[in-house]
């Protein structure tokens, strides 16, 4: 099962990852981190994540720390 790990403490809310995801699995959450940013969240109840790592490749803040494909 493919999935990604987000370190929300590093997210600066640029939201570049959101438009990279081919399955639209990353969304703006209601949560704010201690930088004051409304961070993104990954939700994949139907297991549609491809593990393509486009989001992590695009993230300029090392906030997507791990991607698994399988």
């Amino acid at each position: 099962m493919s999935n990604i790990v987000i370190d929300k403490s590093k997210c600066k809310a640029c939201y570049l990852c959101i438009e990279e995801c081919p399955k639209n699995l990353i969304k703006i959450s209601d949560e704010a981190n201690n930088l004051g940013n409304r961070v993104v969240e990954f939700q994949d109840p139907e297991h549609r994540c491809l593990g393509c790592a486009m989001c992590a490749t695009r993230c300029p803040d090392l906030a997507i720390t791990e991607v698994y494909r399988g």
Partner: protein
């Protein structure tokens, strides 16, 4: 069983947190440098000469021995490092103002001498850390804090095409321009950085990569719009490509 296809490279300090502005492509470029160091097994043998500007903070993130150079002098310091210890892997990470304006002599002469060094230069068409002034790569027409009506030719002159100039130096083994505007181009950028590292490892000469990057803060654009500008404006003038690669037979 899922396999891990992405991780923070082990060349990074534990829990490294960038201090770049939101959406800044420096973050991607530093990660690519870190990935190449890790994948080529260079981290423990690498010495970085860091330049002044936003680029200098690379030493806060990578677990690499680093010397902070005065503005523009990174490649002179790197030359000293490499000549003192030729077995070390020595690279610079510089901005366009550092590399191609105040440090143009040091940069070009390092290439002309064919120093076995790798230089990474971020081109974002402005002086970022000081607040968005006109730099050597500012595009014609671009508004900055010191070109308030736009860069016009008669008044400010032309921007410099760095990768082409470095390719003209006989000591250059590899010179390329890449862009971080899209994921496929980020992947190409990584390949170019790797190549610039490899020519040093093989002792072939000077390796250089110019990276077209966004500066959303000083361009006063959203990160998304900033990448559109890289694509629609910068890449039209600063054409991505490999301008010299002595490892490829013609």
């Amino acid at each position: 069983m899922a396999t891990q296809v992405f991780k923070i490279p082990d060349s990074f300090k534990k829990d490294a947190k960038y201090t770049f502005c939101p959406g800044c492509d420096h973050g991607v470029a530093v990660r690519l440098v870190g990935e190449c160091l890790s994948e080529l097994g260079l981290t423990e043998n690498a010495i970085a000469a860091c330049s002044i500007g936003c680029s200098v903070t690379i030493y806060d993130f990578l677990n690499v021995d680093s010397l902070e150079a005065p503005h523009g002098r990174a490649l002179a310091e790197a030359t000293g490092i490499k000549r003192a210890c030729p077995d070390k892997f020595v690279f610079t990470y510089q901005g366009d103002g550092d590399f191609a304006s105040i440090g143009l002599a040091e940069s070009m002469h390092a290439a002309l001498r064919g120093e076995k060094l790798s230089a990474i230069c971020i081109n974002n068409t402005t002086y970022g850390m000081t607040g968005g002034q006109l730099g050597p790569t500012t595009l014609l027409g671009q508004v900055t804090t010191t070109s308030p009506t736009g860069r016009n030719l008669e008044y400010y002159g032309y921007p410099i095409k760095i990768a082409e100039h470095i390719a003209l130096c006989d000591g250059t083994a590899f010179s390329a321009r890449v862009s971080l505007d899209s994921v496929p181009n980020i992947r190409k950028a990584k390949e170019a950085i790797k190549k610039a590292f490899e020519v040093q490892m093989k002792g072939l000469g000077f390796g250089f990569v110019e990276i077209l990057s966004s500066c959303p803060t000083n361009w006063k654009m959203s990160p998304q719009k900033a990448h559109e500008r890289v694509r629609d404006e910068m890449m039209q003038v600063f054409k991505p490509g490999i301008y010299k690669d002595i490892t490829v037979e013609k």
